[in-house]
């Protein structure tokens, strides 16, 4: 594993151990790369929960940003940069992401643990976000033999995404 990712993953683990992040899970293209083929990106998207007391402030991630910067991360265009990678700390956007953060997939990469969004959660969040690139990624996931469709569909039903899914499914089946 490249040293950059080793550093990023170990920093996330340390941030969680020290309570800077209450919970975290890497999502976006990096998580998708674990389940699919390598998906080009320059960003590491990290969904996270911070101390509830910080949520009352105007910038709830300020403490986390300061912690990473004190440990060598730099700051560029309003996000952290570690070894050239833009690290985006993302707050939960609702109950689906809350659930994803409570049920991450724990992965060991060359001995380094890291939390990733579970595959069904990653797909459901893509459906919820619903940008063109999310739909492309969802199509890729849906076509995989080992994708847990039942778990995904359960999230779709639980988090009120059924209507959106029923519109998208025929398009995905056309691609298949």
């Amino acid at each position: 594993m490249p040293l950059s990712f080793l550093k990023i993953f170990s920093e996330l683990e340390q941030a969680e151990r020290e309570g800077v992040l209450i919970r975290y899970a890497v999502g976006g293209a990096i998580a998708a790369t674990y389940y699919l083929e390598a998906i080009e990106t320059e960003d590491v998207d990290v969904f996270c929960v911070v101390d509830p007391r910080a949520l009352a402030s105007l910038d709830p991630f300020r403490g986390a940003y300061d912690w990473f910067r004190a440990r060598g991360a730099t700051w560029r265009d309003e996000h952290l940069v570690i070894d050239g990678w833009s690290l985006h700390l993302l707050p939960s956007t609702g109950p689906l992401v809350d659930d994803a953060l409570e049920h991450p997939t724990r992965v060991l990469v060359d001995g380094q643990p890291v939390n990733l969004l579970s595959w069904p959660h990653l797909a459901a969040i893509a459906l919820e976000t619903n940008r063109p690139k999310d739909r492309v990624r969802l199509a890729m996931m849906w076509s995989e033999d080992d994708f847990d469709r039942a778990a995904f569909l359960s999230l779709v039903a639980r988090y009120s995404l059924s209507e959106r899914w029923s519109k998208l499914l025929p398009l995905l089946e056309e691609v298949e």
């Binding site: 594993m1 950059s4 790369t33």
Partner: protein, 56 residues
């Protein structure tokens, strides 16, 4: 669909399948190389000095 297009799509699919089976660490290494390449291109376009290689 023409035969040549079918063959190209089939080759692309095989390439994707092979890439998928690689260990996560290898896929991350691929992403790192791509990111470094983009950084070099961006710096050369802006006229900024290239970073010294860290030995990675």
């Amino acid at each position: 669909m023409t035969e040549s297009l079918k063959r190209a799509l089939s080759a692309k699919r095989a390439q994707r399948e092979a890439s998928k089976k690689k260990p996560f660490a290898e896929k991350l290494a691929m992403l790192e190389k791509l990111r470094e390449r983009h950084e070099v291109i961006a710096r050369s376009r802006s006229g900024a000095a290239l970073p010294k290689r860290s030995g990675r």
